[in-house]
Symmetry: C2
Subunit: 218 residues, 2 copies
DNA sequence: TCCTTATGTGACCGGGTGGTCATGTTAAGA
DNA sequence: TCTTAACATGACCACCCGGTCACATAAGGA
């Protein structure tokens, strides 16, 4: 259910304004509670017009999410370009930093992603999440496989488990950064750039060496 | 905004039926989308009656969440009772297993908790989450402090950071167990009891020793 | 028995929603 | 200039919501 042809006939600037208004509304309210009335009101256009660009609410939302996956694809592409043969944990750290930059640059898109992740009444939810996960599974899965071959990470864990644990920590870090409700009093979002970078370093170090008392160097 | 006195005048069985219907509806739909019409319809009572027991939707919901915090309190109490001087990682593992049991026994209550955690339009959200977090901060924060004194975990990380990282992993594990949408293809929810226990063990081991190649024993 | 109080009832209200469509407006080709 | 097709408009629709309230019913004391 892509946008109708009429949408792409619009001047690019107007397309962008409509997209921005939709992104804002969906980010602030999630899919179900987002109001088309509010969107058209803020845009100063008639509701009928919106329905001439998109078949319905779902069509508008899918267009918004498509733009999100485009942005993720861009990000991953530039990430892969950066030294694919770097150290495993170095790359994980870069991925986390890239996530933080994404949130800084596109906070509303990230909020929409979280909405889809945690709200059940989103159209084609499985399909949408599947797309994003495919990206991350390919990227992190590949990293893990190579790192195990190179002996950089322990070989006794299956890669899906490794990816799961890594993503647990990275995702939560990003969630806490994006919405203070999710860091349990750590205050990640309010940290200075220096302290934030230290938190990143510590997080990656724990992923590498664990919480246990540091052993003798191997 | 507690239930009105009339609610507690009801036979216990009817109180329980009403609670169960509300729990189900809030678990399935979250706060905003949950429908009082649906609840009274399933209960076979008039909407006016519900408003004689509770001031409004918010009052009903707060009663439901209160029962949830009661259950959490019970769980933590029995958890603390179990060997408080056991090994740190052993206790973390027990906490994770207790979480899994809670989900098995009270799946709807756990879903409601997740709703509150991830949906913004919940009345008194900060207050409700604060209560639960207080429990967990006290428990895990205490564990961390003692474990650092005893030299069981590395001393270079502040406890809030340790708790944050621990909870990242434990919470995500529980979320994945409760709703397959949140494990990235790992299939935690569908695992056999044996495989599930192995996943628990591996998870705790990674928290302790990290993902890096295992060093020489210290 | 009768009166009073407490409890149960569901039609009804105002408000917001996604979606429609007859009508008005604009623009282009002949 | 006239015709025709594409686009813009907002009043309107059916639906569902949380919440109200005048009224019916049941219960308990005298």
């Amino acid at each position: 259910m892509p946008p109708k042809g009429t949408f792409f006939n619009l001047p690019r600037a107007k397309q962008d304004r409509i997209l921005a208004a939709a992104v804002r509304e969906f980010a602030e309210n999630g899919y179900r509670r987002a109001s088309l009335n509010t969107i058209v009101q803020r845009l100063g256009i008639a509701k009928g017009s919106l329905y001439q660009y998109f078949a319905n609410k779902e069509g508008l939302f899918l267009h918004v999410f498509d733009r999100f996956t485009d942005l993720v694809k861009e990000m991953l592409a530039s990430q892969v370009k950066n030294g694919p043969e770097a150290d495993f944990f170095r790359q994980i750290q870069e991925a986390l930093l890239a996530g933080l930059r994404f949130i800084d640059n596109q906070p509303d898109f990230y909020r929409i992603y979280l909405r889809v992740l945690f709200e059940e009444d989103v159209p084609r939810r499985r399909e949408l999440l599947g797309k994003v996960r495919l990206f991350s599974m390919e990227y992190f899965g590949g990293l893990c496989a190579r790192a195990q071959i190179n002996g950089i990470i322990r070989p006794d864990l299956p890669c899906p488990m490794v990816v799961f644990l890594m993503e647990s920590v990275l995702d939560r870090f990003l969630q806490a950064y994006a919405s203070p409700d999710h860091d349990n009093g750590l205050g990640l979002a309010a940290l200075s750039a220096i302290d934030r970078d230290q938190a990143v370093t510590q997080t990656i170090d724990v992923l590498k060496n664990g919480l246990g008392r540091v052993k003798a160097e191997g």
